[in-house]
Amino acid sequence: MNKHHKKIPWIIKYRPRTVEEVVNQEEAKRLLTTWLSAWASGKKPAKRAALLYGPPGVGKTSLVEALAREYNFELLELNASDYRSAYAIRRTVGVAAFKKALFGKGIIILLDEIDGVATREDAGGLQELLKIIPETNNPIIMTANDPWKDQLRPLRDKVLLVQFKQLSMTQVMGVLQRICEKERLECEREALRLIAQLSQGDLRAAINDLEAIAEGYGKVTLALAKAILRGREKKSDIWRTLNQVFYAKAAWMAKRAVTNSEEDYETLMAWINDNIPRKYEEPGDLYRAYDALSRASLFLSRAKFKGYWSLLSYVFDLIGPGITYARKEGSILKLRYSYPERIKLMASLREVRQIRESLAQKLASRLLVSKSTVKNDILPILQTIFRYSKDLTYPARLVLGYELTKEEVKYLAGNKAEEIIELAEKIKRTRRIPREPEREEVREAPREQKRAPKKKKQERKGKTLDMFFS
């Protein structure tokens, strides 16, 4: 038994068992504990599902497991290796949501990696989940790396969002240190520092690396770590690549640098894009560099969208030597490379585009125009009304008229958003809203929306009963 136990990978062996042991997620712990104690005391919270999000390896799943133990819940786990089609969700989650636990206070339904629900193979799964959430008698918890994925949009409004932070290097090191002690391993502090640094806050990756070195050599030294972990040196790799491009002595050197780079093409181009002005200064140099990059991007899109992968080679010509030899006039600047803003901003970019999309959808069916007309003609007007109206009750009333979400109001109103939302809530509270508002004006759309939930409810009841009898 003991021998066998030893063969369990460390990432499982050392996974946190108690809430205490989950490192550095105090805010997330607080939110989740409050939410779960409500369930435990029999009061269902307003949002009956929670979505835990954050980078990989920061303890999302572990925390749920620990909480379940601590609060005495059963745990039902579904992950990406299970089918999650509409049918599968109905059969598993649908049943569990209305079941009484045999032991303990209830069942936590854990849907791991909800962003991994496949669009085709798991068709309808998310929709099914959306139907179950507002009705469930047991807490549903989901995890995701990227909650801004398009397919998760309808989910976001209906769940408690709990963010998990990236771990700091020191925290990762702390954990590694403890493992070394438990395994009675000889570990150099500098080696642990390197492992932690390269893991970029992914604790699981760090533990894996530690194990990879320890398993092979029985000790963990800086030299060994350096030799073995070269593959993870992403950041230093990109800096080396950039240096080789900007300071190349010959065309082939620059070309080799970009060809051998570990980064995928898009990321590499994002790095170059942001760092050209940190190295070049003369407008002519800048223009030539950007034109080369722009041509490269054109070749890449042709390669990707038309499947002409043989054209990739020209991408490398243009982002390697093409950048190097764009500099003809000025000297090279000494500024340090910066992390590409575009990558940092990707999530918020995706978020804002999605809000725009959902607004377009909402308004298009009401105004009888296409989504692109809404985006290009209507939204700017709405933004003007929301940002510059003399009397903010007016936009507030539009918020109610189109049932806009907070995200959407934020997009339309900018820094006026809070005020408008408050006003809208006040209006909603103080004035009695007629059952069928503005019958004359708003004909089909609102009525459809009103009808829909009723129908859903009936369906669901039927289904629940079926489940009990099957």
């Binding site: 803003e341 585009r353 009888l368 009304i385």
Partner: protein, 327 residues
């Protein structure tokens, strides 16, 4: 104004029945005959944006089937639906659905039909034939020349004209009075000029201007200016001053705050370059327009927004500096 809700005036004042449509008389009359006869051929509505094509289609359906007409009308948008396959499925299903009590056909409304490829239109033609017993198609297009001949020859053709000044101004007046909005009469004419006969646009501008207070020529222009992100012009100026980094910071702001796509931004730059409000020498304008054409082409081919716009800005700072423009 006593209710808690408000909706956009374009929605609030949209004509519901053919009788409420105050312009395009000739078209309305032809459509009314269809209602009277309880029969109609396939229809093709063509004309510029905001001339009431979609509204007319809905009004026609309303008059044929009554208030709950939407259950007898399938609404599709060619640029929203992914491919003819999806359209075929939806049409098939719709054709099978309940028929109206009184009229022997249901209506399929296909907006932006000119955005379909020729192949897709061929397939559409076959759909029109296949379901011609129980359905009628209303196709809506901006550019009738992009509709293939075999479809055109199967449809009764209606060309919607840009609205006349008087019609638009009268409508604006009616709305303003009804909403208790103060206005300078001159301002309404300005709105017409700006909106180029697009009624929807005109009403939108009126509503936004009203939100700022009394509608004057001033506020109208102010609203139009506000509706364009001010960062665009600022970005152009910064670039032409030779400050690439500054211009790019503004570019990023546009993308992140407004969620604009690369094409959106290129179009806006283009619009600004040719507006009179920005002072650029003529030949510079042409040089820029030419490069914009190239960049737009690269964007259409699917390349990266951020990179392509950076290239455009880099080029603008280069020519700006060379020609010593001060934006």
């Amino acid at each position: 104004m006593s209710t808690a809700f408000d909706i956009l005036w374009v929605e609030k004042y949209r004509p519901r029945s053919l009788d409420e449509i105050v312009n395009q008389e000739e078209i309305v009359n032809r459509l009314k005959t269809f209602v009277k006869n309880k029969n109609m051929p396939h229809l093709l509505f063509a004309g510029p944006a905001g001339t009431g094509k979609t509204t007319a289609a809905h009004a026609l359906a309303h008059d044929l089937y009554g208030e709950y007409y939407r259950q007898y009308m399938l609404e599709l948008n060619a640029s929203d639906e992914r491919g003819i396959g999806v359209i075929r499925e939806k049409v098939k299903e719709f054709a099978r659905s309940r028929t109206p009590p009184d009229i022997p056909f249901k209506i399929i409304l296909l907006d932006e039909a000119d955005n379909m490829t020729a192949d897709a239109q061929q397939a559409l033609r076959r759909l029109m034939e296949l379901y011609s017993v129980s359905t009628r198609f209303i196709l809506i297009a901006n550019y009738p020349s992009k509709i293939i001949d075999p479809i055109q020859s199967r449809c009764a053709f209606f060309r919607f004209q840009p609205l006349k000044k008087d019609d638009v101004v009268a409508r604006l007046k009616y709305i303003a009075d009804n909403e208790g909005v103060e206005y300078d009469p001159e301002a309404l004419e300005t709105i017409y000029e700006i909106s180029e006969g697009d009624m929807r646009k005109a009403i939108n501008v009126l509503q936004a201007a009203a939100a700022l207070g009394k509608v004057t020529v001033e506020t109208v222009f102010k609203v139009v200016g506000m509706a364009k992100p001010k960062e665009v012009r600022q970005m152009i100026k910064t670039a032409l001053n030779g400050d690439f980094t500054g211009a790019r910071a503004l570019l990023r702001k546009l993308m992140i705050e407004y969620g604009l796509s690369g094409e959106d931004i290129v179009k806006q730059i283009h619009r600004e370059i040719f507006s009179n409000e920005i002072d650029i020498p003529e030949d510079l304008r042409i040089l820029i327009a030419d490069y914009i054409g190239e960049i737009h082409f690269r964007l259409v081919e699917g390349s990266d927004d951020d990179i392509q716009l950076s290239a455009l800005l880099a080029w603008m700072s280069l020519v700006g500096r060379k020609l010593g423009v001060s934006g």
